[in-house]
Amino acid sequence: MNFKKKAWKLASLAIGTMLMGSMLAGCGDQAASSDEIVIGSNFELTGNQANYGNACNEGLKLAIKEANDAGGINGKKIKLVEADTKSEAAESVNSATKLISDDKVKVIVGPAVTANVIAESQVATDNKVPVIAPAATNPDVTVENGTVKPFIFRSCFIDPQQGTVMATFAAKDLNAKTAVMYIDSSSDYSKSLGKVFKETFEAAGGKVVMEEAFLAKDQDFKAALTKLKTANADVMFVPAYYEEVGKIVKQARELGITATILGTDGWDDPKVIDIAGADALNNTYFSTHYFEQDEEAKPFIEAYKKEYNKNPNVFAALGYDAGKMLIDALKRAGADDPEALRKAIEGIKDLQVGTAKVTVDKNHNPIKGAVILETRNGERMMKTKIAPEQ
């Protein structure tokens, strides 16, 4: 017993000393010199989401380097402090807290994944540090219970917007009059896209004649597809993820469904082609954030290739877009007053970023064009680019 007590005392003493040490260290340095603006990057640099986080971070660093090379923000250079969320929501809060209290950053870009951004948003809001999340597409990231979170922004369009884009594409470009939908009823992503698609398509004069549902991880879709086939619609909308999409497209074609099949960025994975087969994917289209053959994104792609010696992926493009939006806002408002900076981000209008022209809407979501890709004989090609009406 006695020994245990002693051990406790020693341990608490050690912990206390360590805490004090770290606090002192926190106070000491980091007093940023006034001729630079300190911003934080809070990304999944390690862990199972590191693919997304690192790509975003590289895109962001490229945008900042370009701004600094061009003379900085009104004469001040941008200094980027990087933190790692370790791909965990709880750790994202810690790393954001460190950026805010130790490094005194004026604004944070990141993290990439929705759950991590939502976790971070409270501490950022409390400390009045604006956040731009590059790739979090869930509507709840910027809006909570119907109120807009004042300091949280993003540089990607939200999930439902693709429903608008694909419905517009079906009605205007494909002249479709009737549509059927096949929705993953276990996914909010799929359900919200289906709802928005239906609203927009019917507002444009079309009609959704049948809706069926499946569950993620289903293998056999033939029964519902046989039923959908009887509707004889012009298009079939399948907002889902690639694993199910591949099987649905394959089985639909086997059952003789020849209608155009439409999808969203959940389709954006080469595995779809492996699973469905090149032939089945003819006459299918899906929307996504960015495509490497997009002429509008060419300057960004060239710059990225020069910097990193590889092709940028969609996350790199969105990270770059976040950087561009931030730089625009900093130029107009500076970094000293968080309230002014926040308003400046809200006021972004028709700004040319890496992938498109961006306007921030009242819910802090950028309104930007989505690319629509066609798959023909196993190759993806750009069909068109559609910006939703505001």
Binding site: A213, A223, T226, K227, E243, G246, E254
Partner: protein, 295 residues
């Protein structure tokens, strides 16, 4: 398409889906028949079988038949190991302990596989050309016929083994009364081990065939089919081999009809409602008799 057309096409869809349930249910029901264990890990054994077949084809460059055999042998051995390590020490423990252990084994297989093969789904190579037959306006797929054929064939072989061979006689004896069988000179441990081997090999065959048919495999692919096969086995009368096949096909047809004529949202609800109904109305299943004869 008019109603009759639609009905026939949905019956075709149902039989093809049902023959997959039946194939998995065979192993389920066989293991239950011998040691009265609902082997919840059966769906995961099926997943392991699919992966072994996948690696045999992609890494070792085998064609379908040798890959299928390799997968069945390796998975059969895995089944024996699982039985030896997890179930045998509990042979005299209460039934519930061994049931919970089976759930544990199920999770163990799922997440160990996930560690080694990553959660990313793999695309199964197309080793068999997929021919679609268009009979009038009906579509039947060559692979569907193959799966149905193999299911019926395996059922026949199994029934033969259980009913006509000496080993089968030993199995039935051990199922009837393990201890008395032992007194009569039957090595019950060996018989149980063999049962697991055959049951697991069947699951492996199902895994490889499903991998080929649906094109993808992933570490959690066994959960839902495992549960559905369990429903199929109970529906047909658990422990009865032809019952498993009939139960599987009936379940598949019901699912297809519910999706096709009611709504696809109710499909799984219908499957599990059947389980509840069977347990309420005729717990011994469609083929179940009141005599306690098993297998």
């Amino acid at each position: 398409m008019d109603f009759t057309h639609l009905l026939v096409q949905q019956l075709i869809n149902g039989v093809s889906l049902g023959s997959i349930y039946a194939l998995i249910a065979l192993g389920y029901t066989m293991i239950y028949g011998i040691i009265k264990l609902i082997n919840f890990a059966h769906g995961d054994i099926y997943m392991v079988g699919a992966y072994i077949g996948f690696f045999a084809i992609t890494q070792a460059g085998m064609s379908i038949v040798p890959a299928l055999l390799v997968s069945m042998v390796v998975t059969g051995l895995l089944g024996m190991v699982v039985e030896k390590l997890a179930y045998k020490p509990l042979r005299h423990a209460p039934r519930i302990s061994i049931l919970i252990t089976a759930i544990g084994v199920s999770f163990f297989l799922e997440y160990t596989s996930m560690y080694f093969v990553t959660p990313t789904p793999r695309t199964f190579p197309a080793v068999i050309d997929n021919i679609s037959f268009n009979l009038g306006s009906f579509v039947i797929n060559g692979q569907q016929l193959m799966i149905l054929g193999i299911t019926v064939l395996l059922m026949a072989i199994l029934t033969f083994i259980v009913q006509k061979t000496k080993t089968g006689k030993a199995m039935r004896a051990a199922s009837f009364d393990t201890e008395t069988a032992q007194l009569m000179g039957i090595d019950s441990d060996r018989i149980i081990s063999l049962t697991f081997c055959i049951g697991s090999a069947l699951a492996a065959a199902a895994g490889v065939l499903v991998g080929i048919y649906y094109n993808t495999i992933d570490p959690l692919m066994g959960i839902m089919p495992g549960l559905k096969a369990f429903v199929a086995a109970v529906l047909g009368g658990i422990g009865i081999l032809p019952g498993a096949v009939a139960g599987g096909i009936i379940l598949g047809i019901i699912e297809a009809l519910v999706s096709g004529f009611l709504s696809s949202t109710f499909r799984d609800a219908a499957a599990f409602a059947i389980l509840i109904l069977v347990l309420l109305v005729k717990p011994s299943g469609l083929f179940g008799k009141n005599t306690r004869e098993k297998v």
